[in-house]
Amino acid sequence: MITAELFAELNSILPSERIIEEKNNHPLGNSGLVKVIPKTEEEIAAILQFANEHGKKVFVEGSGTKRGFGGLIESADILLSLSNYTGIVEHVVGDMTLTVKAGTKFKELQEYLAQYNQKISLDPFCPTSATMGGIVASNDSGPKRLGYGSSRDVVIGLRIVYPDGKVIRSGGRVVKNVAGYDMNKLFIGSMGTLGVISEVTVKLRPLPKYESLILLSFPEGQMDEIRRFATKLLDSTMEPVTLELLSPTLSEKLMGRNCNTVAIGLEDVETSVRYQEKFIQSIQPDHTELKILAGQDAQAFWNQFYSLTPISPTDSSTSTQTSLKIGVINMDVTTVIKESHLLSDTHNLKVEAHGGLGHGLCQINLKGAKEDIVSAIQQIRESVTKLGGYTVVKHLPFALRQEIDTWGQKPTHFFLLDGIKSKVDPKRVLNPKRFVGGI
């Protein structure tokens, strides 16, 4: 129960209708005794300053799509929600830059920008709900990272409310900037453990004039053939924006074909896209099936794809759900997808997996009994470690996060990470125990 004292203190910052007592802890954890909903940066700063001075712990959330992503404490004193800190601060059409408040939802931004033939060149999961601040703080990216990079390539400036309430700007509003340390990078992917990102400035790209998606399906057991094909395509002068390998189950769900499929996205002027389609048809391996989706059909495919990531603890049948982010050397993606597919038999799990053959990042979504999930994560983590890669658990109910470390082994340079945290947040106010090594 929230004490009268805590309520009174918060009430001196915010009106009572934006201070909500949280009666139950969420099964994904990362809850708060009280949820506060600031509408201004001053309010965010005042809340943090209060927490910092009074030894309170604060969790931060946007719309909650990453609530199952890390965190070893079930509930903090305060859950700071940025869901009402929304809107566009500045869009300079000619400069192709955009500054937004952190709680703004990604899809709303893309729809707004489309009127100007512009876009943020990121393709995060759950774009309908995910907020700009959350995407940046968790460094979420999708298959198009191959063509356009990730938050670290797109974000040019941030406003960050530090744990003591001061506001620090990093970067700026220009697309090229080496004044001082590149502090943007510290906060991208830091899981809110260093400061509350209040504003994000990104550089924009023009919307592609034309796009298509080639879906190339391979017969079972042809991973070597897939690897040869991907190597050949990457060694050509074609410019695919995705080269995503889909597991048979995912391929079945998205396009009705139960076999490994490579999704090759092409975005450029139409003549260029057509030319690349022809090239890919010319190197199409024997016994594969090729299908081309153009324009809106390609977009529809991707929209469905981005919505598949789990955000609730269980699916409708009460199976536990998890999602893993795996990083390996590019072509080892074939091994990861192959091994994850085997989990459906060995662990009796529903497995949907995909990975970028041009950038090495995979996502594996699993559904099934708790104990099978725990064992499967351990198994896959072990084999990924042998490949020199890492496994991060992007989504898992709170109870299971006590058994499985979200981040895996601490890196040898952990003392630097811990040193940075201690410097920026000495009282460990913000998202305590949410990140690597219990930071």
Partner: protein, 484 residues
């Protein structure tokens, strides 16, 4: 055991020589040290204590450990092409030169990455992989001699970063010797998004103040299928600037979009690589698009259309690779070319929002008029990165100081319109006071706090990157004395 051939009574020199093992791997006589008293920023000079040339990571670590234990200030140096004074031994540092760690360690074409030592020259990487159709994207103008280690320190850019990004977008892994001599490996396998704070991103562009990079994994790219390059001459700068904005607004992402003004054109035409730009032109644009050949004509036609709409006097595409090469040589040697029309010049490196270009250029003009110094403008117009070149004669009393003031005033203009003080050259010594144009004291402290995590005693490259309270006037006076 003493190293043969070392004649010094200084125990530190003897001990440092011991670490690198032979007399040819250390410089300590004053007359030899003079070559290391500055880098590409020549308005400030200071002698180092010694220059050592380690051959491998272990030697670097041992040197650093020795310096740390004996509280000797030290810094790392590559080819010394930096333009902001990042490698100048302000405090009589031991310079750890990485020029003997210059190997290409491995190339993995299938996974598109290469591993190099820090002293490996930027252009050599592209040259080493071009036969297979690959290249390394960051292309600073000094790429024929600058090192990739130095590029990492400065987060170097180049003409083609408009489309392909700067150094930080191409770094996948670093081996670093920390200021206490510990060796850490970040992104060991070159896999993106390694769990933890993004130290790769933080270290890149930290101007050698957080650690010494001893091994670098970089991304390599496949050459684009085709490139097309266009020159456009304008009778007024306003039209040229508008054309830049229009090209970007048309949804084109050029690989490069460069601009030079009349004074700059005079310089490049008087120097080693003239290409016959008309003398009476106010602005020239060099525009390059690359990608799938079938898609380029459409983009080129759009660009030609935009230029005509903006009253271009003449616009043409390069007829072959040789002509394209000449145009780029003319542009890339632009800074040095100012030597042909002025005894001295000072390069600045501001960045502005693209749309403010005409306004900023007219304000820079005004600064030129008020200071009585000519200012040539060469810039990466596509990303708003200006290089005003202040022309002066250091032999004339007061001119060096005036040039510094004019340069600083240009940066103030950039900051005023929402831009920044450096886009690719770094802060170094040169712009540390100007950091205040863009950051508050609190924001600067937030950065020095991070430095203290890596470099708590501030022995590594001290006095760089951040302003020193109350020292502005003093430094400018010192610079004036040294350069006059």
């Amino acid at each position: 055991m003493a190293v043969k051939g070392i004649k010094s009574n200084d125990r530190h020199i003897l001990n440092l020589a011991n670490i690198v093992g032979d007399a040819r791997s250390i410089i300590y006589h004053k007359e030899d040290l003079i070559a290391y008293d500055c880098d590409g920023f020549t308005l400030h000079k200071h002698l180092p204590k010694a220059v050592v040339f380690p051959k491998n990571t272990e030697e670097v670590a041992a040197l650093v450990k020795y310096c740390a234990e004996h509280q000797l200030p030290f810094l790392a140096r590559g080819a010394g092409t930096g333009l902001s004074g990042g490698a100048i031994p302000l405090n009589g540092e031991v310079i750890i030169s990485l020029m003997r760690m210059k190997k290409l360690l491995s190339v993995d074409f299938e996974n598109r990455r290469a591993v190099v030592q820090p002293g490996f020259v930027n252009l050599k990487l592209t040259n080493s992989i071009s036969d297979k159709g690959y290249y390394y994207a960051p292309d600073p103008s000094s790429q024929y001699c600058c090192t990739i280690g130095g590029n990492v320190a400065e987060n170097a850019g180049g003409a083609h970063c408009l489309k392909y990004g700067v150094t930080t977008n191409h770094i996948l892994g670093l081996e670093v010797v920390l200021p206490n001599g510990d060796i850490v490996e970040i992104g060991a396998n070159g896999i993106p998004d390694e769990p933890g704070y993004d130290l790769l991103g933080l270290l890149t562009g930290s101007e050698g103040t957080l650690g010494i990079v001893t091994k670098i994994t970089v991304r390599i790219l496949k050459n684009p299928e085709a490139k097309k390059t266009v020159l456009a001459y304008f009778d007024n700068v306003e039209d040229g600037s508008q054309a830049v904005s229009d090209i970007i607004s048309a949804g084109i992402v050029p690989a490069a979009l460069e601009m030079m003004d009349k004074t700059a054109i005079e310089g490049v035409e008087a120097a080693a690589f003239p290409v016959g730009h008309p003398k009476d032109i106010e602005a020239v644009l060099l525009i390059e698009v690359d990608g799938i050949a079938d898609g380029l004509d459409e983009q080129i036609n759009q660009i030609l259309g935009v230029c005509r709409k903006r009253n271009v006097r003449e616009v043409r595409a390069a007829k072959d690779e040789a002509e394209r090469g000449r145009w780029w040589a003319n542009r890339k040697t632009g800074f040095g070319a100012m030597g042909a029309i002025s005894p001295d010049y000072l390069v600045q490196d501001g960045v502005i929002p693209r749309s403010r270009l005409p306004e900023v250029l007219s304000r820079i003009n005004k600064i030129s008029e008020e200071s009585g110094l000519r200012i040539a403008n060469i810039f990466h117009a596509g990303d708003g990165n200006l290089h005003p070149l202040v022309l002066f004669d250091a032999r004339i009393p007061g001119q060096s100081e005036k040039a510094l003031e004019a340069g600083s005033a240009c940066l103030q203009v950039c900051a005023d319109v929402g831009g920044t003080i450096t886009g690719e050259h770094g802060v170094g010594i040169e712009k540390r006071e100007e950091m205040r144009f863009v950051f508050t004291d609190e924001e600067i402290i937030a950065q020095t706090d991070i430095r203290s995590v890596f470099n708590p005693d501030n022995l590594l490259n001290a006095g760089k990157l951040f302003p020193m309270p109350g020292r502005c006037v003093e430094i400018k006076k010192e610079i004036k004395e040294r350069s006059s």
